[in-house]
């Protein structure tokens, strides 16, 4: 198979991934790594580099579309980024020293957890009572626009959320993924923020976290132009089409189907990692 054919196939696959990712909200980039490593036998370091590029592309593209961030809590996002970026850099460094089989297995496990977590019921947000001391001092409590007007909400467990974000950051830097699901869990279940706020804030944070580890990836030579080019253009194109084609009504059956595909890929990654084929 020539480079031309290889590039075209990658582009089409990335298009589908970007489309499905934007329709299901499950992050289409996660299929890039299994596709590259399992099907095309690309070394996992190139794969995670390519994936990180697609993460930056889709998160910046999405942020440009939803710039009215009256919903996302930017201050909270920035504060938590202190934890996430530190973790991301640690994770990126780890990626050089962990054997590739280990990275593959970890990737599979995280993929399963993320897919399952995306179906977890949302926790109830805290809108009454007193604010936590830390949250008030850092001015993290905010309001979100609702049909009734601006509803205030409180942020709890700042320390717990901070710690969880650090872990999400490490995973992000190690595997080249966005770990949006983990970020949402940290904000939704630990910090008890309204679900819409946590998803939009997570989207904001993903780009920042990715920018943190990309420097290390670049220096170590993980980012290859021949792979990044079709994948970046593909996921951007697919996501663009996705936002145009369907209104915000996310079909649940599509999400379940995509989650199943992710689960199968995750198991394959783990299996290949264990049998040293990766």
């Amino acid at each position: 198979m020539s480079i031309l054919v290889f590039t075209i196939i990658l582009f089409v696959a990335a298009l589908v991934a970007g489309l499905l990712g934007s329709l299901t909200g499950l992050g289409g980039g996660v299929v890039i790594i299994p596709l590259l490593t399992l099907v095309f036998k690309v070394d996992i370091h190139y794969a995670i580099g390519t994936s990180l590029i697609s993460v930056i592309a889709t998160s910046s593209g999405a942020a440009a579309a939803y710039v009215r961030e009256g919903i996302a809590n930017i201050r909270l996002g920035m504060f938590l980024e202190l934890a996430t970026t530190a973790g991301a850099i640690a994770g990126a460094w780890l990626a050089a020293y962990l054997p590739t089989e280990m990275i593959a297995i970890l990737f599979g496990v995280v993929l399963i957890i993320s897919a399952v977590l995306s179906f977890v019921r949302q926790a109830d947000p805290v809108t009454t009572g007193t604010a936590g001391v830390l949250a008030a001092k850092l001015r993290l409590n905010s309001t979100m626009p609702t049909p009734e007007g601006k509803t205030p909400y409180f942020v709890k467990n700042v320390v717990g959320g901070f710690f969880m974000m650090n872990i999400a950051g490490i995973i992000s830097g190690l595997l080249g993924i966005g770990s949006g699901a983990l970020k949402v869990i940290a904000m939704d279940n630990i910090m008890r923020i309204p679900f819409k706020v946590s998803t939009t804030t997570s989207n904001f944070m993903i780009g920042v976290t990715a920018a943190a580890s990309v420097g290390v990836y670049l220096k170590r030579g993980y980012i290859d132009p021949g792979l990044s080019m079709p994948v970046m253009l593909g996921v951007l194109g697919g996501a663009f089409v996705g936002t145009r084609v369907l209104t915000k009504a996310k079909t649940p059956s599509l999400k379940i189907l995509f989650a199943l595909v992710i689960l199968i890929l995750a198991v394959e990654m783990i299996y290949n990692g264990i049998t040293h084929k990766i």
């Binding site: 198979m1 020539s2 480079i3 031309l4 290889f6 590039t7 590259l36 095309f40 036998k41 690309v42 070394d43 996992i44 370091h45 190139y46 590029i53 930056i56 592309a57 998160s59 910046s60 593209g61 942020a63 440009a64 710039v67 009215r68 961030e69 930017i74 201050r75 920035m78 504060f79 980024e81 202190l82 970026t85 530190a86 850099i89 990126a92 850092l138 001015r139 780009g207 920042v208 920018a211 943190a212 580890s213 990309v214 420097g215 670049l218 220096k219 170590r220 030579g221 993980y222 980012i223 290859d224 132009p225 021949g226 792979l227 990044s228 080019m229 079709p230 970046m232 253009l233 951007l236």
Partner: protein, 124 residues
């Protein structure tokens, strides 16, 4: 009066950030596409070799070498240039919000965001 002026600054900030992101991603895509066309024209018939990790050569990693290679008309360095523009986009966004917090006289978050930016830049 004070309230109204602050709200104006917020939406102004959001607009600029929106433009920044949009044009950043767009220009990055154009450059990457151009580089891709050159790359495929020159190397499309060759075989891909990604099974073993060897790390990218210096001219694909060092910004100065990338630029020199671009001026020579090479495809892959042009793609890398586009990727650098893509990477610069969220970073520029963060830098801009530092400015925004400064304008809002929110010094805590000016410093906080500056720390995040420094951490990111330190790794390049």
């Amino acid at each position: 009066m004070e309230q109204k002026r602050k709200r104006l600054q917020d939406t102004d900030m959001e607009n600029v950030i929106g433009y920044l992101l949009r044009y950043g991603v767009l220009s990055a895509s154009v450059v990457v596409l151009a580089g891709g066309i050159v790359y495929l024209y020159r190397h499309g018939h060759q075989l891909p070799a990604y099974s073993q990790f060897r790390g990218e050569p210096d001219k694909m990693r060092n910004p100065r070498l990338i630029w020199q290679a671009v001026l020579r008309g090479e495809g892959r360095p042009l793609i890398q240039l586009g990727l650098l523009i893509l990477i610069a986009t969220p970073i520029a966004r963060i830098a801009f919000s530092i400015f925004g917090y400064l304008l809002e006289k929110d010094y805590l978050y000016t410093v906080l965001t500056a720390i995040v930016l420094l951490v990111i830049l330190w790794n390049f």
